[in-house]
Symmetry: C2
């Protein structure tokens, strides 16, 4: 089966503390989360880089999920990108204690030939110059989606704006939506982001869910109410992985198709945060995904 | 037609400033907003008090809306409750500059006989001791709903908890939900509020919409995206008025009935904030409400 979707982003080890405990060098990174999640829906390829410390068990984990690794550059020297941080009682924005880019510093997202014809491209949260490179290297995918963060809005505003103008879907969190648009309220901020060029803005609002906005339509998906969060790391990348993966699977690019994918995104985000790192995906059954999807769908149903 | 729903709360003059302008002594108060809005759906009675400065034009406004005024105590001396405040660029929480309780200080919510048999009771945001009095004075209504605020959570925690244990629906905003439950996240906070006794918690989240939670169900209604807010005063009371009024009209107390009412609540909140004070209701057509309802319903539809 050829690769239908590619994910470009970080491959990382995360050392982190949450109110539920501590983990050292846990598997993480936007590309790992998004591709693992998408693997439950479609044939997905990972474009990323890791160093000589990247454990064979983690390569095995990705292979078990049938993640295509032709675009995964596993270096024989250098260390894997390492992030350490902690979350407070509200499980809100993490406090970063240390970031070591390591091999990620010189990451060049080279695409295997097959990947250039992927139908869907997810650009995880990396430097917009790298995101732009990928856009220049692919052959007219149906959907290019991009995630970003405050760092790039602050430091590379004009470049980010240029890259955003070339994508179909922008994933961005609530605070960053206001920041990027230089607005104080969501509604005018979303209009401004649509003016930048993407057809669709997906605003991630954590436990309040997510909103999808086009010129014509708004749709809200609730977050599934997880009373007992363990680790919020990767929730946004899992949302994107579920969103893009389910789009690839059902192939319905109408407004209603995107709405189904919003619910799948929400489902996958909620599954991720129930356990540390990618532990929720060690043994995840497709039935669990379908059940969570139906629970969230029920939360937006008015008969 | 006998009164099917009663609203107990403040009748006020508001002097306020928003980024869109300034108003002196504009008609306001939780009982005025909620009863005016509910009048579009059902026969509603207002229980409140005003002073000798209350303008005949404002009595006329309420009469034109067929709001029943048997429970409205229009005093021949004393002044009407007066609030003054301002909103910043984000139209978030108002800064209060001055509050003069005036005749509201000694308000006793006396209920005309007919009101005691109302099917729905909305207790606007007033001292919980007054809310408790009303609960003791009514004859088994089908739905008692209560709104409150941080002031009462801070100053009358135990009493508020007691009153909340006696109602069916608690309206509360997002920050106050965390505060009242002493939690940092929405999901566990909502569980704690349900433990206090109400069957349903309605968490108001401003431009992010509102959530309805019972033990079995969660439902999210989006807010209609108003790009150009004029005055957020009364949005929450309008939500409650639309929610309760539409419940009274359709009489469907199932989960799906409540969900329809969440959408009507959201519709009415969005109509209120488009103009200062109650100006949106000077000339409002029922078709405008139905149209807004359908627009919001579309925002939660997944086919």
């Amino acid at each position: 089966m050829s690769v239908k979707m590619i994910v470009v982003g970080s491959v990382a080890y995360d050392t982190l503390q949450t109110p539920k405990g501590k983990r050292e060098r846990a598997l993480g990174g936007s590309a790992v989360y998004a591709s693992t999640v998408a693997s439950y829906f479609t044939k997905v390829g990972l474009v990323g880089v890791a160093g000589k410390d990247f454990e064979p068990a983690h390569v095995e984990f990705l292979k078990q999920h049938q993640v295509d690794l032709q675009g995964f550059d596993l270096k024989e020297d250098g260390e894997t990108f390492h992030w350490s941080g902690s979350y407070g009682e509200d499980f809100g924005d993490a406090t970063t204690h240390d970031t070591k880019l390591n091999v990620f510093e010189t990451f060049d997202p080279v695409l295997p030939e097959e990947y250039k014809n992927a139908e869907l491209v997810f650009l995880g949260n990396i430097h917009p110059a790298l995101q732009l490179k990928v856009i220049e290297r692919v052959n007219k995918p149906k959907i290019i989606a991009l995630d970003t963060m405050n760092l790039w809005i602050d430091n590379t505003y004009d470049l980010l704006k240029e890259v955003v103008s070339k994508v179909n879907v922008l994933f961005i969190n609530f605070q960053e939506t206001l920041m990027f648009a230089k607005e104080k309220k969501l509604a005018p901020a979303v209009e401004k982001l649509l003016d930048m060029g993407p057809e669709r803005i997906v605003v991630k609002m954590g436990e309040l869910g997510a909103m999808s906005a086009t010129r014509e339509d708004r749709f809200f998906t609730p977050a599934f109410p997880i009373v007992d969060i363990t680790d919020p790391t990767g929730a946004g990348d899992s949302f994107a992985g579920g969103f893009m993966g389910s789009l690839a699977r059902h192939g319905d690019y109408s407004e209603m198709g995107f709405r189904k994918s919003m619910l799948f995104g929400s489902a996958m985000g909620s599954i991720t945060v129930e356990n540390f790192s990618l532990d929720s995906y060690i043994d995840l059954k497709p039935e669990t995904i379908e059940k969570r999807y139906n629970q969230i769908k029920r939360m937006v149903t008015v008969e």
